[in-house]
Symmetry: C2
Subunit: 611 residues, 2 copies
């Protein structure tokens, strides 16, 4: 195999034992890398019943075969573990430069096991791998940690670190990379797992180059596709993901007031990517090997939020800290975003948890006696920021909100559960299940909970086509017919994309299945890899994640939608009233997946996939 | 007021205090009697958080204003309490002769409070009410108890009693009346509440006659409707409720194999009412004042089930002990039915629990180590009967099954929960939610859990019309449009029917709203009672039950369907594949009910109803 070192570091923090291992070529071929390979290793090595924050849980950081190459959007890596937020399979996928640096150091991934007695970080410089005391960085926020380690070693290193959120094991703590540019392994609380192991950071410096099977043909094939990606990515380049706010709000996809409000056009306009471009934007950020550059760089030079400098808020963050909390001050959101990044907590779950608290307060289910005297009202940016800090520090009422909405509702009791919007414990991101039946089904069935990127279907339900999967026109977003098959095809494809490690925006701007297969053959040298094998790998990857979840106790009862999205009509001008018929879609989904009636993969299916 | 004594006995079993109380006329007018009045008293007197089997729970036995009159099908009473099976509002409604006897004794109802130190029964003979030792009947089955008390007192008494199931507090223990004719207050485990109070039975003898406001007009009005009821009730008279087996099976309404199988025509034919008529039927049974006589009297004279004599199995019992368990031997079912009646356990929950165990065994979720060595297979009549006995005696694995499927699944663990078919802890009866969207919505919203008689809609979704409610033709059973309003109208009406105390078969065979109102005016003397006031009383009654449930913690999360009926397609010749879109229907239901988005009655609604 070329393009893959076939070297995975394994660090046991209990024993301080460090080793490097290789895998069978067949394992690579069947799981490819990234979260697919991570899922396979998790499934093989970790008992699904373990305490996610206990010593027996492991974290798998994996790059993909494309990482380090010039393949557009391939500068990515994944983290896989059992989630402390959901209690089931967790993955998170990230761009930036850390994955590329690990690859340059001569590795495809790193597995973290055990638990260190004292706070440590791991330092990797090519063949040298060491465990270092984290005394100088423990307690520091993420950007500071990046700076301290760079000062201590060299500016050339790439640092992946948790903040105080991860150290204190906030259930949705993130892991951050790229310093001020703040890329996040955001979802599922993987940062808390890192914190539970007393592992503050992994810093990497690499100087190696990897060989490809057919670099010339690879280059040529990339060239063929690159121009189109660049062209189609112009909108993302111009306004970032934030450019979607106004559009998504206009038809009822943008989250508002804990998913209760129909429209909010004035608010959306004020926090849009267009507004950001006109006001606080100072530059654009691109991940390694990216030709789109959707990242935002901002600076706030005056006013109460003066001093914010670095990564600007993404669409999801604007949705969750903005729309969900009805906060329409872009600078306040940017400040909140930076706080989340510094504390190392997921902006999506943070915003969802705060919006949840706002609704409970409005409905009288909680009051100042629960919140420690804070009046928590929708639209109050000061309260938003105060609560972000309290969550990040796990202080006072922030400790309850830092459990995520599912657990927080349990703690609060009464009817709080009715306002806790989640699937399998994961709060949905800034896309409304009522706006897309396929998205709804994806939320219900995604292995990590309410996730919009596992299927990444919604674009293909409204505007985009995907002829290679048989969709010459968008799949009507409110149709039910054929929706299960549609979702499954995309979930399988996107699982492969997360394993090869390219960005989904690469796919949505023009990278084709044909290209992925060609590149895989040119990079690795499997000259006979076909689109069919690729999609079968996607199916296998989806199923191995499901099998881990089955071990966690997941079955049909968990494949559901938040009750609000099942029963509460979203109404407003331009909003098509829709309540996804999840029962029927799920029934068809199981049939197409080859799962039994409670969602357990049938043994024939498992055999067929050679898991 | 005429037709109502306005005398309700209150017995405190802790203090042995016995009193008789009256209520405001306005309370009668607003709640009428039966389960409506019971619900109002429960709501006013019992903290919804009490332990259903604790000393603070109460039981309300209430007749209605029509009970004791010649109004067709009015020989009925109701029991209301908090259910130990579901943890929410419980009611059960019954025909027979006991209610009539209580009315003749000069009372409209009896309230049981507290808990006796030792087993007792209550004996009522007109003005004499006493608490007696139950030494001679404790431990006896229901028919034996009836015989012993009749021997001890006189054949003229009417006995309502629990069996060993109620004494041992099987969670779905019933209360039985009418000796061998075995009428049951079957659902929700009210027998266990009686058992928890050490109350074995209530025996009554009455000699009084009540006056009616306008007996002549009442008689005339009854005459006008009676012939039609008799005519329309011929099918029920001919074959009993059991006559429905073949028809309901033919289109996928009859429960099969824990709701997993599509068709079973051979089986249905073998256990049908038609077959019963040809074989073991010896007579027909009519409740007091009934002109339909749907009850069956049977006798088995030979074979392994020789000795069965008395009440034959109803449609529901044939569905639950027969179809659900795939037992196609009518005599075995009749034997099982008699056993359930003797032990005093609900045939519906019993059959459901056994079918649940059969599926778990088939799926390998339980095996002989759990069941105490019993191989539990679908279709095995010997096992069916053995398990009924074990449940009735609360022995071995029967103790787990006697908890009902929801709790049993919790105890068994693993994926057992996926096969536990219930709503709010109550197992659905022998009608399939997938066959009728209105029934589905009724199951989801009925105050006592998955109940088909609270709305009693299904007949009006396929064959019957109800012009007085605006339904000149049946409401298409698979439609969604207008279904919420349709269900609410019927739930409100049927709530009144259960309060006035007439039989729903009276309604389905021709008693009109107009007649109910006329009779109410002629009986009681409220000359200005209107259909509008009647239906508003129905709305009030539905809401007072809901309010009690809200106090128990019920909200939208509980208004759901079993997952199997939401996601598992029932297929087969003649079966229309349908998965009820419960989310949409529920949303519309709440709107029409004047409830908020989590199903809590709004304060305006409560005020409007004058609860």
């Amino acid at each position: 195999m070329k393009g893959i070192w076939n070297k995975i570091i394994r660090v046991d923090l209990t024993t301080n034992n460090i080793s490097v291992q290789s895998l069978d070529e067949s394992t690579w071929r069947r799981y490819l890398g990234g979260s697919g390979l991570g899922a396979k290793l998790l499934y093989d090595e970790v008992n699904p019943k373990v305490d996610p924050l206990g010593v027996e849980n492991k974290i798998y950081f994996l790059t993909g075969p494309f990482c380090g190459s010039a393949i557009p959007t391939s500068g990515r890596h994944a983290a896989v573990t059992k989630s402390p937020l959901t209690g089931v399979f967790a993955e998170s996928d990230i761009g930036g430069y850390w994955g590329n640096e690990l690859k340059k150091a001569g590795y495809d991934g790193i597995i973290i096991e055990g638990k260190s007695e004292k706070p440590v970080y791991i330092y990797i410089e090519d063949d040298e791998i060491s465990i270092k005391s984290a005394d100088s960085i423990w307690g520091k926020h993420t950007i500071e940690t990046d700076e301290i380690l760079k000062t201590q070693w060299t500016d050339d290193i790439q640092v992946m670190t948790i903040g105080p959120g991860g150290e204190k094991m906030v259930k949705y703590a993130s892991i951050m990379t790229d310093g001020k540019d703040s890329r996040a392994l955001g979802r599922c609380g993987i940062g808390a797992v890192m914190g539970s192991k007393n592992l503050k950071a992994i810093a990497v410096k690499g100087t190696k180059s990897i060989e490809y099977h057919n670099p010339e043909k690879l280059k040529e094939s990339i060239r063929e596709i690159a121009q189109g990606v660049r062209e189609n990515g112009k909108g993302l380049n111009n306004y970032g993901t934030a450019g979607g706010v106004i559009g998504h709000e206009s038809y009822g996809n943008f989250p508002l007031k804990n998913w209760e409000l129909g429209r909010w056009p004035e608010g959306a306009e004020k926090i849009s990517g267009q507004r950001m471009t006109e006001t606080i934007l100072t530059g654009k950020y691109r991940c390694k090997s990216c030709i789109i550059a959707c990242g935002r760089i901002i600076k706030i030079e005056e006013g109460p939020y003066k001093g914010v400098e670095g990564a600007g808020p993404e669409y999801e963050t604007l949705g969750m800290l903005g729309g969900m909390c009805l906060v329409d001050n872009l600078e306040a959101i940017a400040f909140g975003n930076e706080l989340c990044n510094k504390y190392g907590i997921d902006t999506i779950s943070t915003g969802a948890s705060i919006a949840f608290a706002m609704e409970l307060f409005e409905k009288g289910i909680i009051d100042e006696t629960t919140t420690g005297g804070i009046e928590i009202k929708f639209g109050d940016e000061k309260v938003l920021i105060k609560l972000i800090e309290m969550i990040g520090k796990r202080e006072g009422f922030g400790e309850i909100l830092g459990e995520g909405v599912r657990k927080a509702a349990e703690i609060i009791g009464g009817n709080a559960v009715e306002y806790a919007i989640h699937v399998k414990g994961l709060e949905p991101p800034a896309h409304d299940a009522r706006a897309y039946n396929g998205l709804a089904l994806s939320y219900a069935t995604s292995n990590r909970g309410a996730c919009h990127v596992a299927g990444f279907t919604h674009g293909y339900e409204r505007t985009n086509t995907f002829p290679e999967l048989g969709y010459d026109k968008p799949h009507d977003r409110h149709s039910v017919e054929g929706k299960a098959e549609f979702v499954i095809k995309f979930q399988n494809l996107m699982g492969v994309v997360d394993s090869l490690k390219v960005c989904k925006f690469g796919i949505s701007t023009g990278i084709k299945i044909k290209s992925l297969v060609e590149w895989l053959n040119y990079v690795v040298g499997w000259e006979d890899y076909t689109p069919e094998e690729l999609l079968m790998a996607g199916d296998r990857i989806y199923n191995v994640k499901r099998l881990f979840n089955v071990g966690c106790g997941v079955s049909r009862k968990d494949d559901t939608l938040p009750l609000r999205h099942q029963t509460f009509k979203r109404e407003g001008e331009g909003v098509v009233v829709n309540l996804p018929p999840i029962g029927r879609m799920l029934s068809e989904y199981y049939d197409h997946r080859g799962w039994d009636e409670i969602g357990i993969p049938k043994s024939e299916k498992i055999d067929e996939l050679n898991i």
